[in-house]
């Protein structure tokens, strides 16, 4: 081999604490190195040009660059060597900036360490082989999981871009959490008025197939060619026949059915339509409360249905779909705040969640927009809002900020004043996070124009005084004293958690999730929409807390990723994947057992069974390589011999 080594000064970033010329001099003694030079900035255009020229001039067939982290510039230099006619995988990097010059000041030690890192890179390079990507067809359809505002936005953008969309929603109606909100901050727009038209568009768009009351059961395949199984839950109503007229809901005798759409603040009927603007506007029977389904007698809805849509025998249905990529937009749930025993642990009816309060404010809610407290239906006068309930609280394992509670609490305080002009609102807060466009102005309005009393401190205890009030004991840290409020209603700004079942879905999607269940993006700053599984994108709160505009933006961003992916007719795989040496494979199946991606299958060849890597599915983790006892399956570009070459370079005494 003929190897060229280029040592980058990175201005003084590296050269400040590493003798780059000395490293180059040392590198000349390494095997197969025919050229080693130090360059001021390798990544700058002249630097890259120098590398290209050297490849031509010295007929190099491999290049080592010692500079910054490969996580930053490996793609850059791979393109450089490719331009000069080398295979992009005949290139190695030594990280002498982040791992050397920036973490130590001893020039002698740094120079020695940099030299060794170059030596390791040379040793690895000598075992590198040119790798070639393979191409395969794409199925240009997208699956979007979750039809909250993020999912809806992604679906509409994709559909407008001419892509066939399969939209799956767990609930009976699309719209997600936004559909439950009364108004939205900071404009105090009617939530239903701005979301409604988008929901109608989803229903009417020819490119969108909507499965409501459905969940993704199974996902197999790989980017470009996923196979999806969708479980369509039994609704006991034939939706092809249901017109959404509502006759059934009027007559249903099971009137004490818990109303999940209204966050359990009021009852509904066993057969119901979530809310007037529901999409699809179809009735659904709650089997746990339907008298026909639980006791076997009733049948009222079947009798009154003008189209004969009721079907008590309906079963779950499994539907299969084939798509080329997936957008997860599964949103969030509120955490179970009843762990706060000091707030009554859910035993006091007049301690409600912010989302319940939205339903109390909403004209389509159980109180038709009149604020009535759950215990006795009275209009509350003193209302206490407590922020950060289940947010920023390590003691219950939720250290993160839920992001939008400060804003909606201000909104709710404003709306409260609008609804009950003689009411008094108190907000216990720790910090006010209002960093969006006209957000801070909005919270100031709540204080200045609506007289909301903001108290800086947490609440330690809530308990009923036995006379119909709730005693709220908190602190005003600005005053440096405990404070106590006799409240009629307490609204908790309950923290956000990943939607229930997120980890399970993540496992089906083969994407990672953090310890709170939020899906992990590929890069926290630069790849917020992509995941580490090719062809799976994220939108909305499932990736991390965000408010409506951010969710919508990410929905559109995910759509852009989908359209970008589908702008090609063929996809190329990453050739850094595993492959089986059939001569060595004894078909013991250990690699198949532990591959996290199901990327290895058993194949027969001349009467014997062997393992074979499905090239499009393999993600290149190399778990199989470290599992195979005879080294028959090797991960390209990180083979046993390549890593051994590095180990042997370092350990040879």
């Amino acid at each position: 081999m003929r190897i060229g080594v280029f040592i980058c000064h990175c201005g003084s970033n590296i050269a400040g604490t590493v003798d780059c010329a000395k490293v180059a001099e040392n590198a000349r003694m390494f095997p197969d190195v025919v050229l080693a030079q130090d360059i001021m900035y390798t990544c700058a255009e002249p630097g890259q040009a120098a590398i290209e020229a050297a490849i031509h001039e010295h007929k190099l067939d491999g290049v080592v660059v010692a500079s910054c982290s490969p996580r930053i510039h490996e793609p850059t230099f791979r393109r450089t060597v490719e331009r000069a006619g080398l295979n992009r995988y005949m290139f190695e990097m030594a990280n002498i900036r982040e791992h050397v010059s920036w973490i130590g000041k001893d020039k002698e030690a740094n120079t020695n360490k940099a030299t060794e890192l170059v030596q390791i890179a040379v040793a690895k390079l000598r075992n590198d082989k040119p790798l070639k990507a393979k191409s395969f067809d794409i199925n240009k359809r997208v699956l979007i999981i979750g039809a909250g505002v993020a999912g809806i936005q992604a679906a509409l953008d994709c559909a407008e871009g001419g892509i066939q969309v399969v939209l799956v929603e767990r609930e009976a109606t699309i719209g997600g959490k936004m559909a439950k909100l009364d108004k939205t901050f900071p404009t105090v727009d009617c939530s239903a008025c701005i979301l409604g038209p988008k929901m109608v568009d989803v229903a009417q768009h020819p490119n969108i197939t909507l499965y409501a009351k459905s969940e993704v059961e199974d996902i197999s395949g790989y980017v470009g060619n996923f196979n999806i199984k969708i479980r369509k839950r039994a609704t006991y109503v034939d939706w092809d026949k249901c017109t959404g007229c509502g006759a059934c809901t009027e007559k249903c005798p099971a009137k004490k059915t818990p109303d999940t759409f209204n966050e359990l603040v009021g009852p509904t009927t066993a057969i119901n339509i979530a809310f007037p603007q529901a999409i699809p506007k179809k009735a659904v029977i709650n089997p746990e409360h339907c008298r026909q389904l639980t006791k076997g007698k009733c049948g009222v809805c079947a009798k009154v249905c003008p189209t004969g849509a009721i079907n008590y025998e309906q079963q779950d249905e499994i539907i299969t779909e084939e798509v080329g990529c997936i957008v997860a937009a599964t949103g969030y749930d509120l955490m179970d705040w009843t762990v706060y025993e000091e707030y009554g642990g859910g035993r006091y009816p007049d301690v409600v969640t912010s989302l319940q309060y939205e339903r109390l404010l909403s004209a389509s809610g159980p109180t038709e927009g009149h604020i009535k407290r759950p215990s006795d239906g009275k209009e509350p006068k003193n209302i206490v809002f407590i922020q950060c309930v289940g947010s920023r609280d390590r003691s219950i394992g939720r250290p993160y900020c839920s992001g939008f509670c400060c804003m909606y609490t201000a909104k709710q305080a404003i709306l409260t004043k609008d609804h009950i002009p003689d009411s008094k609102s108190f907000v216990f807060y720790m910090d006010i996070r209002a960093n969006g466009k006209i957000y801070d102005e909005f919270t100031r309005r709540a204080m200045e124009e609506y007289g909301t009393e903001y108290i800086r401190g947490r609440v330690s205890k809530i308990y009923p005084d036995g006379e119909g009030h709730l005693i709220v004991r908190g602190v005003d840290t600005l005053l440096g004293e405990g404070v106590e409020i006799k409240a009629d209603l307490v609204v908790l700004a309950v923290g956000v958690e990943a939607a229930k079942g997120s980890p399970k879905l993540a496992e089906k999607l083969r994407i990672s999730y953090d310890s709170y269940g939020f899906f992990l993006e590929s890069h926290v700053k630069l790849k917020p929409v992509e995941t580490n599984t090719a062809g799976v994108y994220l939108a909305g709160v499932c990736q991390g807390v965000k408010d409506i505009p951010a969710s919508v933006a990410q929905g559109s961003a995910a759509a852009a990723k989908v359209l970008g992916l589908f702008s090609k007719d063929k996809l190329e795989n990453d050739p850094q994947i595993a492959s089986v040496d059939m001569k060595r494979c004894v078909d013991c199946g250990k690699c198949i057992r532990c591959c996290p991606f199901g990327a290895i299958k058993e194949v027969e060849f001349r009467g014997k069974m062997y393992a074979q890597v499905i090239e499009t599915v393999c993600q290149g983790c190399g778990l199989c390589t470290s599992t195979c006892p005879q080294g028959a399956i090797q991960l390209s570009h990180a083979t046993d011999n390549q890593i051994l070459a590095e180990v042997n370079t370092l350990c040879q005494c």
Binding site: E98, N112, D581
Partner: protein, 482 residues
């Protein structure tokens, strides 16, 4: 390139590309100063790290090895670090038996954002290695040749098994024989004081079958080569464990194997028997009684009481009868598990780390790499493609070096993690009597401790522990970096 004399020690790091390598980058970006000893090897995933890379480094001059991957649940590849965690922990518990201080190897989880944590990890680990000082080399100590103490007490009375109904067993085999390609058992060897494996294809072959304390070989070693054929096998309790383990790993099919079993009363440690017999030309007579065997060779009588001359494994055996069988002649005896450390492991346990290193140096010197240990192992199914003799991958050189020989034993032991049933055939097969079983015993002990008393070869449905994981491991806990 040697380490900087006096300043640095050789510390090798294996970091996953996605989290920990990024974490080290973050530390660099934050100018979080660190000692200069560490050399980082970038791998795609902690799951890619074969524990043998670490042993390779430690045997060849590394003073410390640090592995870091994504935090559990954060793996870029969903589950790579879950597998890594189990394998690395097993390795950590294994190293001391080689005489390597397990503090020289550590693994942890650092995310791409945890630059400070990375700095702390590097500082702490480097300090730890400097406190430990340069690692001793295998060649440094004087060879130490200690002998295993075989004065053992058995959990149950050992015997010669002559009351077993061998005729019934023969009849049962003969009845099944027409459906089977071959039945594997034991027959008399070149003299009456030893047996060898028997391959029965005709009723006349079946008549050669013997049962008794000389039946030392584990017939399960032959099963994988018959995969797809109908095979019968006669087993002792320990042999059955190998059969079960092979089933567990899908290396043989249950429907192809017919298991014939009789309760075993113990087998002889032929090493000590041969030692006692010495050089002789002919066996005159072998007589059995309940407690032992009397062998007359060249006119001289030698008495072998089973309680004194059994194989090490027989003393601690709690499963004298096959855990799984199709035909069982006789009734299984219950043996209450008791405290038992295998004698080889007990010997190693009694030594200091330095003594262990000296011990292995002394033992491995006489290894001539015949690989009888490997080939006698029923679990070594890839022996024909063993990495001990391959160039792609090239793990071991063919040089006559103690290190490479010990490294091979480590490979064998690590490859047996969670799979070894302790049948002891590796050690019995060794012509030069190296007590290599101790390494497998330590692996088995570590696996049992880590995975709730997991024993291989007991449950055909169980997942071998290193081919599975738990999101929350009950017995593996992140070490604190304080």
């Amino acid at each position: 390139m040697p380490v900087l004399n006096g300043k640095e020690l050789r510390i090798v790091g294996f970091l996953c590309n996605w989290c920990s390598y990024g974490g080290a980058d973050t530390a660099g970006t934050a100018r979080a100063g660190q000692p200069t000893d560490l050399r980082i090897i970038r791998v795609p995933c902690s799951g890619r790290i074969d524990p043998l890379f670490i042993v390779k480094a430690l045997l060849n001059g590394a003073d410390g090895v640090l592995v870091s991957g994504c935090h559990p649940r954060d793996c870029h590849y969903a589950a790579g670090n879950f597998y890594a965690r189990r394998r690395l922990e097993v390795l950590k518990q294994f190293l001391p038996v080689l005489g390597i201080d397990d503090r020289r190897f550590e693994y942890t989880w650092v995310s791409a954002s945890e630059g400070q944590r990375w700095q702390h990890v590097v500082q702490t680990f480097t300090k730890r290695i400097h406190d430990l000082g340069p690692a001793p080399k295998l060649e440094d100590p004087e060879p130490l040749l200690k002998v295993v103490d075989m004065a053992l007490t058995s959990l149950r009375p050992l015997g010669t098994g002559q009351k077993n109904k061998l005729d019934e067993l023969k009849a049962a085999i003969k009845a099944k024989l027409p459906e089977l390609d071959v039945v594997i058992g034991w027959q008399q060897g070149y003299d009456a004081a030893r047996t060898v494996p028997l391959f029965m294809r005709t009723p006349e072959d079946v008549d050669k079958l013997v049962w008794g304390p000389f039946n030392v070989n584990n017939p399960a070693v032959y099963l994988p080569q018959y995969k797809g054929k109908k095979v019968g096998i006669v087993v002792k309790g320990c042999d059955a464990k190998s059969v079960v383990e092979l089933l567990q790993e899908n290396l043989i099919n249950r429907e192809d194997v017919t298991i014939f079993a009789m309760p075993c009363e113990g087998t002889l440690d032929m090493a000590r028997v041969n030692q006692e017999l010495g050089r002789y030309t002919t066996i005159d007579k072998v007589e059995y009684d309940e407690a032992g065997v009397t062998i007359t060779a060249d006119g001289k009588e030698h008495r072998f009481c089973m309680n004194d001359f059994a194989q090490g494994k027989c003393y601690g055996c709690t499963m004298p009868t096959a855990v799984l069988s199709d035909t069982l002649i006789g009734t299984p005896t219950e043996v209450k598990p008791g405290p038992y450390t295998p004698p080889e492991l007990a010997l190693l346990d009694s030594m200091s780390l330095d003594e262990r290193l000296a011990f292995w140096r002394g033992q491995m010197e006489r290894c001539i790499r015949c690989y009888a240990c490997r080939n006698a192992c029923p679990m070594c199914v890839c022996r024909d493609y063993c990495i001990a003799e391959s160039r792609e991958p090239h793990w071991i050189s063919q040089e006559d070096s103690t290190r490479d020989k010990l490294f091979f034993q480590t490979i064998h032991a690590m490859h047996l993690a969670g799979r070894c049933t302790g049948c002891g055939e590796c050690q019995r097969a060794c012509p030069v009597g190296i007590p290599i079983l101790a390494l497998r015993q330590q692996i088995a002990r570590a696996v049992a401790q880590l995975f709730d008393g997991y024993k291989s070869g007991v449950d055909p449905e169980a997942v071998p522990p290193l081919l599975g994981y738990e999101v929350e491991e009950k017995n593996i806990h992140e070490r604190e970096w304080k």
